[in-house]
Symmetry: C3
Subunit: 365 residues, 3 copies
């Protein structure tokens, strides 16, 4: 079950070039992405309406696409406009067309009711295209449920363990308690880690004279989009003083491919030494290494869950954000299936101290 009335990241802009027919499966549906001659992106059902051959094996003809099995030709709005050997085309012969928006290097597709495709719901990912920031784009494919990856991104305590030798560097990260607040369609998480060691990967970017303060501040919204400001700077600097700080902005998006596979689009931008390509590359490579650490753990977790007899999971205090986020998703699913909204259930995990939540929200159960 996936939320349908939602913008999903479908591709990096450079994955759909002028002559590309890209088939990508989003929440279980195979969608064809291509560009019209004016560069506008198109998203239509990849299945030819005739015998379900993939249009991605077809041929672009101007702004239309022709199925290369039996030659049916479709306009960019999904209408069939030619059937070889047949004089007329039935009006209802068409494939589904999806709203698609290109915004700052990502192509977003709306999988639900087109009438509700409000572009204002597209998350703010400014650093994807901002001359003050630089990055190298990344993509990973996971063979796991996307929610397990959401869990990972909603609890940065794992940096101390999974990423001990890359993004983490200290148990301090897990010991710090984040602030978690509910925002529209998601959560805001802020984790301050003070008086700690730099992360191992920082050594590729700068020399800190001693300990540092680190901050991770991000919004995480459905379906699984993270927009994060993060920095490390010499310990004791005033909060608004960014002299000597390493500052980053990261955009990451999870798009379910199927119940058990996920597309992962990511980047982490820097705003310092913009013209030093080795900095951009070092950050990208550090991220790739760390994200493989995550994938190894999450894939093993998924495999273990799938192969074992069912057993409950035990919530801990660190689950505050991930439990909240699953509630956000469930509320949207319930709304789409017409289920009445459930009353909150005010139970906290043993050992979990209260975290700051706006009035009316519910601590992790």
């Amino acid at each position: 079950m996936f939320v349908k009335n939602c913008w999903y990241v479908a591709a990096w802009d450079h994955e759909v070039l002028a002559d590309t027919l890209l088939a990508r499966t989003i929440i279980g549906e195979s969608v064809l992405f291509y560009r019209k001659s004016d560069g506008t992106a198109v998203a239509i059902d990849n299945r030819c309406a005739h015998r379900h051959a993939p249009l991605s094996l077809g041929r672009k003809e101007g702004d239309a696409v022709r199925c290369q099995y039996h030659g049916l030709k479709y306009a960019s709005d999904g209408r069939c406009i030619e059937i070889p050997g047949q004089d007329t085309v039935p009006a209802k012969l068409c494939v589904r067309s999806y709203p698609v928006v290109e915004r700052q290097r990502w192509l977003w597709v709306w999988m639900g009711d087109p009438a509700r495709a409000d572009e204002a719901l597209i998350p703010q990912t400014f650093s994807l295209a901002d001359p003050e920031w630089r990055y190298k784009p990344g993509y990973l494919h996971y063979d796991t449920d996307y929610l397990l990856i959401c869990d990972n991104l909603l609890d940065f305590s794992h940096l101390s363990f999974v990423h001990e030798k890359t993004l983490g560097g200290s148990p301090n990260i897990a010991q710090a308690r984040p602030e978690v607040t509910r925002i529209p369609r998601g959560l805001r998480v802020t984790r301050d880690v003070r008086n700690t060691v730099p992360a191992p990967y920082h050594a590729r970017l700068a020399s800190f004279p001693g300990k540092v303060d680190r901050r991770f501040a991000y919004d995480f919204v459905v379906p699984g989009v993270l927009m994060m400001k993060t920095h490390a700077k010499p310990v004791g600097t005033a909060d608004d003083d960014m002299t000597g700080a390493l500052q980053f902005h990261s955009c990451q998006a999870l798009t379910p491919e199927s119940e058990n596979s996920t597309h992962y689009f990511f980047m982490q931008a820097h705003n310092f030494r913009l013209h030093d390509a080795t900095i951009t590359e070092a950050i990208y490579q550090s991220l790739c290494t760390a994200f493989e650490e995550d994938r190894r753990m999450i894939q093993a977790q998924q495999n273990l869950i799938a192969s074992s007899s069912p057993a409950p999971m035990h919530p801990i205090a660190a689950d505050l954000a991930l439990v909240q986020f699953r509630r956000v998703v469930q509320e949207l699913l319930d709304a789409e299936s017409g289920v009445p909204v459930r009353a909150p259930q005010p139970r906290a995990p043993r050992g979990a101290s209260a975290s700051k939540l706006p009035a009316g929200t519910v601590p992790a159960a």
Copy 2:
């Protein structure tokens, strides 16, 4: 569900040599093929009746076969004739024996009631063994439902698209309207394509001074056997004048292995330049290339159908023969399961003009 009372092509003759024990799965059943010392082909259940070890891992002993797990020995009619360590053999201990006929280089096996195994039902595949014709035998394995391949062979409009650069060469093939008539247990399809370009692969075989007339005329009968005469000759030649023509005869047989896999036996024979081995090889290689084009498309089609949410297919005029053929198959399945034959449903696809069908047959719905 497969038709059982039917001859299926099980193997090329050269796949079962004097010392071969060939296991091949036909409509879901693993069958053992081998030859007696007089060369006669044998087909029995590949499962030892004792513990279901495969007899294909066993040993030929004269005309019998011995299971090499615990040593049970079976006569060529399937009766168990020896059990090591046991003085007597229960009379009912046997494996199933299948009627098998070797005809013009193909071994045909009857998967249904042996009492109904009428050799007159074996299709006429004369060019498989005729001194006036020459060919190189071919075999392909598909991981798809055999009916999707039947569909392919019943609508040659795909030559214009899938085989544009091999067997096709022009949209004319898809534009021509075939004649489709019902014959016993199948269909007869004739497609004349006049005043068109030669196929790309013709260039390996002859030089036509200009445009050509092409004809494809074939019978296609259950389970999925095609026997086709085809030619290309200079445009405007009288219909019965074969001077300057390239003439071919092709035999192709689809044998379901399982619900989603298929054996494909094929050849295309030529009756010109019989002693030029490069001609035989050129035709074979052209076919292999083209059949890989088909397989790529059909496999992608099957994968898309299997991985997507269900959706209807939309019939078009070109589906006339394939819709008819699926009806033939369904009638045979219904007859085997005792379902009363359904009344014809006279609905034609929108945009489909009438095709010639014998009285009492039904246009494609």
Copy 3:
């Protein structure tokens, strides 16, 4: 369905070294094996109670193990003793702990009720650690139901066929009739093969002047543990005269991994020429070759059963022990699920002559 109240061989001792975290799935449950600093073996659920990440990707910290996803730390009895970022640990937060016993180089784990884990139920495998015997340890993984491998070990008639060129050498083995008697939780099987040829693999070990007498005498108990004395010696020697005999003792254990996969621990020890390493190696290599012969057959058998339409198996006289053993297993399963014990059904297979069984046991049906 597996018997739970049972000791299963989980590992060779050398598979769990001082710093090893070994995950091994036993009857469907992923279990973590490691050693405390005093060398004692530990077996706990491999799933972190928090989010089911595998503890085998974690880190040993003294006698405890820390999950390297979010840092929960577990004592060797399964209690969680630390949760990063949280002051207290809920008392009930723990993973399951399994009784584990190290005995003569094998680690045995008890998968059922710990209160019933009686070490007296561990089978006698003396030759695994006896200065008078020498061997090289072996392990195989099967992708089959463990019961098909039990069947194999309970009917040595297959030596004449599967192992014709390795452990067998003659149809005599299949022709000999074994004695089968019921023992607690299993069967005792004795097969004397007199006046026969040496096995092909004997030629690596000794030269017999002529024919030999061979004996295979073993206990086979749940879940699938074989302890076997076997010998070959010059024909006609008195039964208790071991001059000139090749004597072996073999321990083999089948541990189901899942419904369709199995761990196979094995060795065959010799008590002659103890200091000749080539003898030890020759026996080991002969066994490996022969066990691959078994695996090929049993895997093919399993595949054929899984892919074919259901059909009955036909029992023969040689099935006496395997049918009995499946009954032993079923009785234990019934007892665990509270099913009343069934009355014996006194039916013998056709052609099977009576075998010696203690009063009250039942011939193979």
